[in-house]
């Protein structure tokens, strides 16, 4: 299970009725935030999932609308009583930007664990969160993120017995660790069934669509993508500013065979009640205009 919330849906600057784009995932009580523009702590308060268990904050890039809410959020997380280290992840430049913005956060009672990543495709695991990262083309170094709750293969008693695995090792092997007894080594595949599909969510704002994104988001249960420009007439502008048309996001969603697409990061010039995606639905039908604090709970599929 993975709880998802699109905390805000605005690009460039916060509006009275639209917070800046940020994404929150909750997995077994731990929380991962992607991006933190000005006001993110306020929409988090409206959501009500709490501050203390924000364990990881990932940044796509360091334009103001994606990070200026960081010092205020850190202070509020501190006021909520957090003592455990908090991990910050981002493309090159993370240390300098965080050092600057936290000049007003002198007395935090928790440490910041900064993971400044090279500008390349990579994966890391923090707690139960599997995080995949893809460099994407914006006018500064920018990452797309995929967050997964991976599912362990099922334990198959018949297989364990057929392989003559002593019962005392079953639990260890189920946890994915091999066991050696004398000359015999027992491996997890001797007790486990086939790999099972986990839950996958991909998040991508502020970039041009590229072939690599199709593979990166492939089969995602949810793809959250920028919709800075809803109308196709803005193609020249999106190319100039390295953003994406909503129809390009829909084409990505189709090519990547994702289940559902949410648009976000809307231009401040575009009020929600003027948005229409009727022209995009023929490309990819299961598309939704993001709303602040739009939330879903993604479950493991029933299939074995």
């Amino acid at each position: 299970m993975l709880d998802i919330c699109l905390l805000g849906t605005g690009g460039m600057l916060p509006l009275p009725d639209r917070y800046l784009t940020a994404f929150l995932a909750r997995l077994n009580g731990k929380k991962l935030l992607i991006d933190c523009g000005e006001g993110t702590q306020v929409t988090m308060r409206l959501l009500g999932w709490g501050y203390k268990t924000v364990d990881i904050i990932c940044f796509t890039h360091y334009h103001g609308d994606h990070i200026t809410g960081l010092p205020g959020l850190l202070l509020t997380i501190g006021n909520a009583g957090r003592k455990e280290p908090l991990t910050l992840i981002g493309p090159p430049g993370l240390k300098k930007v965080v050092e600057g913005l936290t000049v007003v956060c002198k007395d935090l009672a928790f440490e910041l664990n900064l993971i400044e990543l090279p500008y390349e495709e990579q994966e890391l695991q923090i707690g139960e969160f599997y995080i995949s990262i893809l460099p994407v083309p914006h006018n500064v170094k920018c990452f797309a993120y995929t967050i997964e709750n991976r599912r362990n293969p099922k334990f198959v008693v018949e297989k364990a017995r057929a392989n003559n695995v002593p019962q005392k090792y079953w639990k260890t092997l189920q946890q994915g660790k091999p066991v050696t007894e004398g000359n015999v080594t027992y491996t997890p595949d001797m007790v486990l069934g086939q790999a099972r599909k986990g839950i996958k969510v991909s998040y991508c704002t502020d970039c041009r669509p590229i072939q690599e994104l199709e593979d990166f988001i492939r089969g995602a249960d949810l793809f959250i993508c920028e919709g800075m420009y809803i109308e196709d007439t803005y193609l020249d502008q999106v190319k100039k500013h390295k953003h994406m048309l909503s129809s390009e996001a829909a084409k990505l969603a189709k090519a990547g065979n994702v289940k559902e697409l949410w648009l976000t990061h809307f231009s401040p010039a575009l009020p929600h009640n003027y948005m229409s995606i009727d022209h995009i639905k023929p490309i990819f039908n299961n598309i939704h205009i993001g709303q602040d604090r739009m939330t879903t709970t993604l479950e493991f599929s029933e299939e074995e």
Copy 2:
């Protein structure tokens, strides 16, 4: 004339229905802002006075709730098309804090003119704004501010004639500049009447009341003061955290003989609809609980 707006009324952290304490003064199209917590640009948008003509930003101190909105506001002022330098004023530490927070504001099209002031009582004039500064006791270096629109004395034709001032010098003398012709020096007092009362607004948050504040705010048309703790039962806490009871603010207002008092900087634990100041009114009657974007226009008095 001086337009005043209390942009927000919250202390510590921004709430969904309460922006952080900030003060905006508008004088002949120029604007002076005091403090800039997270979200200040959003309440400014709701106010509708525009961004481009924000000329001066003063900081009381550098706790997050008074300054974390700065980078976002600067970016938005830039997007509004400002090209002229913008002046930032504050107690010692200004340069370091601004340098840190603006790490994400690389491409501003206007310069920042930083005036880091010594921690002492002082005055400065920027454009038509007369700014007086008083160090006040908080747990970091903190300033109270008084903003004035000073009024020139009236030109008195009879006085100019009685003093035999040639008419060609009247305008120069009216502007406050002396003129020398041969052995004779003409001074402004030879054509001007008595000093006239201007408009005075004092602003003070996050400090203990001190004797010097009474003189600093004396005769103000409006005194805006923190109301972090409305109830007198919090005296131990306000002393510990170096804040002020609302009754202490009222005593200051009375002692300083101000015309009107607005309370602001309310604890996030205190919703507006639970606030009562009935117990404070006997101390100073013309007191108001601040509301976000509470606005007034202060005019020169009619008297000569």
